[in-house]
């Protein structure tokens, strides 16, 4: 029963190849709000399921989770579509929740911390798709030249998504590492988590390069409105504040 529940949880705290279900569903859902709901709800379901099992999960699941996190982080480097990239980073991040599985409430908070920064990028990506047709590096968007406000917001949203310091996912990642160190000492798993983080950053930088930098073709696209810029700025400030608050809770 426990293994079955673990396997079911592996669908929602996605482990490869079960993770393909989430990426497929996310890809099919085109509306940003629907995607946002999925980003919020999917890992929470996983945590609820895992709470029904005997914690901590078997070691095999830890290895499986680490492999999944690294695999998706690595694959994200080659991705050019922002939406798909969000799905991959979400899978990579959520699979890391298996490493800290112990206290269910903490897992809920950590899952939220991984999801929320991706929400802003997801909303922005939806907006970009609406205006440019797609948020894809194969299109010569050149946001910095064409729509500098979009570019600025995109860069900050991307920094938040790749768990830069002060954002909640950074502290969640840090909590995972400290938990592993406290429980098992600094070993391969800690190195792997750090590696995953580096890969997220690398892939994020590639997307910034592909979407923000360079000459843009779409010259007549209106830039982000001032109220929306303020709204995003508020969102980022909220994330930063939440991150700092979370630091006190998780660390």
């Amino acid at each position: 029963m426990s293994i079955s529940l673990d396997l079911l949880a592996a669908l929602f705290l996605p482990l490869f190849p079960l993770s393909m279900v989430f990426t497929r569903v996310f890809d099919r859902l085109r509306h940003p709000l629907a995607r946002a709901a999925l980003l919020l709800a999917w890992p929470q379901l996983g945590v609820l399921l895992i709470a029904q099992t005997a914690l901590p999960p078997p070691d095999a699941f830890i290895v499986w989770a680490l492999a999944t996190a690294a695999f998706y982080a690595y694959r994200a480097i080659a991705l050019r579509d922002v939406g798909l990239w969000i799905a991959f980073i979400a899978v990579s991040a959520w699979s890391l929740l298996w490493l800290g599985a112990g206290d269910v409430l903490t897992m809920h908070v950590q899952a939220l911390a991984f999801s929320v920064p991706l929400l802003l990028l997801n909303l922005l990506s939806g907006d970009l798709e609406r205006r440019f047709g797609a948020a894809h590096t194969r299109l010569k968007l050149g946001l910095a030249a064409v729509a500098p406000r979009y570019a600025a917001v995109f860069v900050v949203a991307m920094l938040a998504a790749v768990a830069s310091p002060v954002f909640p996912n950074f502290f969640s990642l840090l909590a995972t590492i400290t938990h592993r160190v406290a429980e098992h000492g600094a070993g391969l798993s800690v190195f792997m988590v750090a590696l995953v983080w580096v890969l997220w950053t690398w892939s994020g930088a590639r997307l910034i390069q592909g979407i923000v930098v360079g000459e843009g073709d779409a010259r007549n696209v209106a830039d982000l409105s001032t109220p929306m810029v303020w709204a995003y700025a508020g969102g980022f400030l909220f994330l930063a504040a939440a991150g700092l608050a979370l630091a006190g809770v998780l660390l």
């Binding site: 050019r80 797609a134 894809h136 194969r138 299109l139 073709d217 010259r219 007549n220």
Partner: protein, 1049 residues
């Protein structure tokens, strides 16, 4: 003539010779780029001047991936503020409409007028797959509808056209595979060029540069490249391993399967990738006097061989998995799977439909032909619908602006096709239409201000006659000088008609002070009578500082140790540039007053100079090599050593004894004198030849003075002072400083030229000979050189120590006048620089201008020649009554003293051509500053001490920076072709133009707009681009008047 078998070329050698010839021809469209130390304004499309302007612009735009005209919205702005003549624009539209067959229910004139006046962006999209049927279907059904799939017969020619032709293989591969091989090649080639062509900026230089560019590069190329080149060498020349750049080019092009018929075009495309570097290499290869070129040779063949080697290597390394890597592969892909090639190009060129981009990428990654086939059909259909909808939306918007919605919605297929064709053709010609209308307004403005009225007769001679350079910046200072007193001004090319090669004091190389079109025969030496200052210590300190800064490790220590000193320097320059620079100037040793060695040396004088130099060298050598103290090196000893070194005499035993060395040591020392110190017969002969170039004979001096004075019409009524004002600029931290100097002096200050002519004209022997030729210069006339600083507007007088005492009493008045003119000029000019918020009084403006010239953070010390538009050859009275706002080159000319039109031909040959280069440089830098100009100065870095790059690695930036031609991102310079006015009888002017082939070509091909003002009949004749002259009486200024009468050429 028969050729013996031993002298005939082998097939391979013939091929290699052909490669060299083709490379030479292929490089022609790329303009020369001169080192920036003496910036030469040039036409970026100089190599295409044999074509009509419009054709050349179209071709140049394709070649350099640039824009040949301003964007439409800028012209619309000009139209709104009256800088474009609306009537002329309407006439152009009517002319276009008249040439086309009428289209049923289409009011074409309304469409075109709306397009010009109200549409910001191009209406007809190019390179689309949606045809008129798609558009017609969309117009009438509201959507594209189902159409037959795109046929291979349509697709293949389109792909061949965009991917093959003269296009380098790597560019096509980049477009199909998403690689960045072209960019990689460019980076690698730039690094090689930086290393090889360095002129002293780098501490570590490329070894073996004397062997030439290709050979030197080959020796330091990476291991993979070495292997590739070795393999080529083995294939081409067998075991002996000889490898020439021609062999490499020939071999690689064959390996890449490029047909020989495309080689010229292929070379041109390759060269144009880095046209700045290529232009520099082209110039360098032809500059026989250029020291660096003589020492380290390199040409376009070397460059091509290096580019192609990188191309082959990277194509081999980067392209894998059966992707195309030769032209043959590309052709086979296009023929066998055009749909795949199409989808690849769409994806990798960033053209894919956003909605399908991810699907296309996935399908191409899977390489499933069936999937790709199905996707292509869907994609092409979606593309056609999308393009048709976009095109239709643009047409509907235009129809609304033209008030043609109703007829447009009911257009039939054929009428729609005709309308689209008409709009496409019109948009293609649009740049010329705007340009002509803009030029018409500029001509109207000028002609309205010109005056043919005879000036009132003078009661007495003017206080001062002043000759300035024809430079546009002289117009302002001349106008103000004339306004403050009894000054008569003239315009003449800034080298005053005397081509001089100057050897400046303290420098060993020659500087050509004349337009680059000329090569000076005469050398002038600058000499000082002052004792040599103790420069050694200062020089050594400066040298040590540079070494410390340039070394790899020492900067870390240097910053800690003496960084603070630089901090003081920085604060001083930034906070109080004027006071700080004034104080700092006192610290530096001033160059003492100098004299110019102007007269031809006699044989005896030359011999005496050579002896003196050789004696000095021998004394130094004896002291250094043999350690003898100076007092022991007497004249007799030096003479004996010199005679021995030159082979005139043997060394006597007593001389050897005086040297204090054994015989063998003395012989060795003589050998050293001959070898190291070049005291030998052959070198002496060469030096005598060089000395023979120094100075001018009296005949030459008379000729130059006469020509200079006659060409500006100054042949009588000489004033007490004749001011010869050269010009130059001063600015800080500005690699483009020489671009602000005198173009007629080869991008140098014009003072030396002024001094040369003044010295000649003040010479009694010259005046005597001039008087015999009808030019009587009174004894109390003094030619005085001066320098007009165009950044500060100051005019400083020079060679005052030579001024006769009788003139000293007038000097104060002269200085006051010059000062007043300078202040007024600064007051007029400064508001356009926007360095002060409001218009200042003259004194404050003058101070601000001086501060501006010393401000090291100032990216725009002055506007230079920006906004140049006119070249006026005629008497000053023609333009005296109008302010030309610093937009006109003014060359004084009096046709009455030039019945044989020689002087006019000279003006056309030199100054006008230089003016046209300047004009075109500004034109193209303004219309496309990124490609033809050099972008923003803010990102510039000096490269190799001869050019600038953007960032740390880029093509050499040619053209002018944005700060020179743009203001807040919009053109400050109004790009127009040079409107040239000649004041002379029509037939005289026409014959002069016809006699100067280069100018005739420029006029006929529409590179300059020519107007002849005939003062004797008071008529204006305009040369039209169709080869005809249009004539009208002077004083009528509307376009209708201008077209009143036609006269055949």
């Amino acid at each position: 003539m028969t050729i013996s078998p031993s002298t005939s070329l082998t097939p391979a050698a013939g091929r290699h010779l052909r490669v060299r010839a083709l490379a030479y021809v292929a490089g022609e469209p790329v303009p020369f780029f001169w080192p920036m130390r003496s910036f030469i304004h040039h036409n970026p499309l100089h190599g295409l001047e044999h074509l009509p302007f419009a054709t050349a612009v179209e071709k140049g735009a394709k070649l350099f991936h640039a824009r040949g005209f301003l964007p439409r919205h800028v012209y619309q702005g000009y139209l709104a503020d009256g800088r474009i003549d609306a009537a002329a624009l309407a006439t152009e539209v009517e002319r276009f409409v008249a040439m086309r067959a009428p289209i049923e229910t289409v009011e074409l004139k309304a469409w075109l007028t709306a397009l010009l006046r109200a549409e910001r962006d191009p209406v007809i999209a190019g390179g689309t797959i949606a045809d008129v049927d798609d558009l017609h279907a969309a117009l009438h059904a509201g959507q594209g509808g189902e159409r037959s799939p795109l046929e291979a017969a349509t697709l293949i020619p389109m792909l061949r056209d965009t991917l093959l032709g003269d296009r380098p293989v790597q560019e096509a591969v980049d477009a199909l595979c998403g690689t960045a091989i072209t960019a990689e090649i460019n980076e690698s080639v730039i690094r090689v060029c930086l290393d090889f062509f360095d002129e002293g900026q780098s501490v570590w230089v490329m070894p073996d540069r004397e062997q030439g560019l290709f050979t030197a590069w080959r020796r330091v190329a990476g291991r993979e490249m070495q292997r590739l080149l070795d393999a080529i060498a083995e294939a081409e020349s067998g075991a002996d391993g000889v490898l020439t750049p021609e062999m490499v080019i020939d071999h690689i092009l064959r390996r890449l399967e490029v047909p020989e018929t495309h080689w010229i075009g292929y070379f041109t495309r390759e060269i144009a990738q880095l046209h700045g570097w290529a232009g520099f290499i082209r110039w360098r290869a032809t500059a026989s006097h250029y020291h660096w070129s003589e020492r380290y040779p390199g040409d376009l063949v070397d460059l091509l061989a290096i580019r192609l080697s990188f191309a082959l290597l990277l194509l081999t390394k980067r392209v894998t998995g059966g992707q195309p890597k030769t032209r043959g592969d590309l052709e086979r892909l296009i023929e066998s799977a055009p749909h795949v090639a199409y989808l690849r190009r769409e994806l990798h060129c960033g053209r894919a439909l956003p909605a399908l981009v991810q699907r296309v990428e996935d399908a191409l990654l899977r390489r499933d032909n069936k999937l790709l086939g199905a996707l292509f059909v869907a994609y092409a259909q979606a593309r056609r619908v999308d393009e048709a909808a976009t095109q239709l939306a643009r047409l509907r918007a235009l129809a609304q602006r033209a008030g043609q919605q109703v007829p447009f919605e009911s257009l039939g297929r054929d009428a729609l096709a005709a309308l689209i064709d008409a709009l496409r053709d019109f948009e293609k010609d649009e740049g010329m239409i705007w340009l002509r209308a803009m030029e018409t307004r500029a001509m109207q403005t000028l002609l309205a201000g010109l005056s043919l009225d005879a000036p009132p007769p003078r009661e007495k001679r003017p206080f001062v006659q002043a000759a300035f350079c024809i430079d546009t910046r002289s117009e302002r200072i001349r106008r103000h000088l004339e306004s403050v007193g009894d000054y008569q001004t003239f315009g003449v090319a800034g080298f005053f008609g005397v081509p001089v090669s100057l050897i400046e004091l303290g420098k060993g190389s020659e500087t050509h002070l004349c337009p680059v079109l000329l090569t000076p025969k005469n050398v002038v030496l600058e000499m000082s009578s002052a004792a040599r200052a103790n420069e050694a210590a200062v020089t050594a300190l400066g040298h040590a500082m540079h070494k410390l800064k340039e070394s790899v490790l020492s900067p870390f220590v240097t910053v800690e140790a003496i960084g603070l000193l630089f901090g003081f320097d920085m604060i001083g320059k930034t906070v109080a540039p004027r006071a700080y620079n004034h104080w700092r100037r006192h610290l530096h040793e001033h160059k003492s007053g100098t004299h110019l060695l102007l007269d031809k040396l006699s044989r005896e004088q030359a011999d005496s100079i050579l002896r003196a130099v050789q004696r000095a060298i021998i004394v130094e050598a004896v002291e250094q090599e043999l350690g003898l103290p100076a007092e022991k090196v007497n004249d007799a000893l030096v003479r004996a050593l010199r005679e021995a070194a030159l082979g005139h005499a043997e060394l006597a035993p007593e001389v050897i004894a005086e040297l204090g060395v054994p015989t063998s040591g003395a012989v060795r020392f003589i050998d050293q004198l001959r070898g190291n110190h070049r005291i030998n017969a052959a070198f002496s002969n060469r030096q005598m030849e060089e000395l023979g170039r120094i100075g001018f004979t009296i005949d030459e001096q008379v000729r130059f003075v006469r020509q200079a004075l006659s060409s500006i019409g100054l042949t009588g009524n000489f004033s007490r002072f004749v001011l010869l004002a050269g010009h130059g600029s001063t600015s800080e931290n500005n690699p483009y400083e020489s671009a602000l100097d005198c173009g007629a002096c080869g991008g140098n200050h014009g003072l030396i030229s002024a001094r040369v002519l003044a010295q000649m004209a003040n010479k009694p022997a010259v005046r005597k000979r001039l008087a015999e030729k009808g030019i009587e210069i009174p004894d109390d006339t003094w030619f005085m050189p001066a320098l007009h600083n165009t950044t500060t507007d100051e005019i400083t007088l020079h060679d005052l120590e030579l001024l006769p005492t009788s003139h000293l009493v007038y000097l104060d008045r002269l200085r006051t006048g010059l000062n007043s003119a300078a202040r007024l000029c600064a007051q007029e000019r400064l508001p356009s620089l926007q360095i002060v918020p409001d218009r200042q009084d003259p004194g404050a403006a003058f101070k601000s201008a001086r501060r501006n010239a010393m401000d090291w953070s100032q990216v725009r010390p002055e506007w230079g020649l920006s906004r140049n538009a006119y070249f006026i050859i005629g008497r000053r009275d023609l333009t005296r009554s109008m302010g030309l706002d610093g937009r006109a080159f003014l060359h004084s000319y009096d046709y009455r003293v030039d019945p044989k039109r020689r002087l006019l031909e000279n003006i056309l040959t030199g100054p006008l051509v230089v003016g046209q280069w300047i004009n075109m440089e500004h034109y193209f830098s303004a219309v496309d500053n990124e490609r033809f100009g050099s972008g923003s100065k803010v990102y510039h870095n000096v490269a190799g001490r001869f050019g600038v790059m953007t960032g740390n690695l880029s093509d050499l930036r040619t053209g002018l920076p944005s700060q020179t031609v743009l203001e807040n991102g919009q053109p400050y310079h109004e790009p127009m072709r040079l409107i040239t006015v000649i004041e002379a009888p029509f037939e005289q002017a026409r014959a002069a133009v016809e006699a100067v082939v280069s100018v005739k070509r420029l006029v006929r091909n529409g590179w300059i707009r020519l107007i002849v003002i005939d003062p004797e009949t008071a008529t204006v004749c305009l040369y039209e681009e169709d080869g005809s002259w249009r004539r009208r009486p002077h004083g009528q200024s509307t376009e209708s008047d201008l077209t009143q009468e036609r006269c055949a050429s």
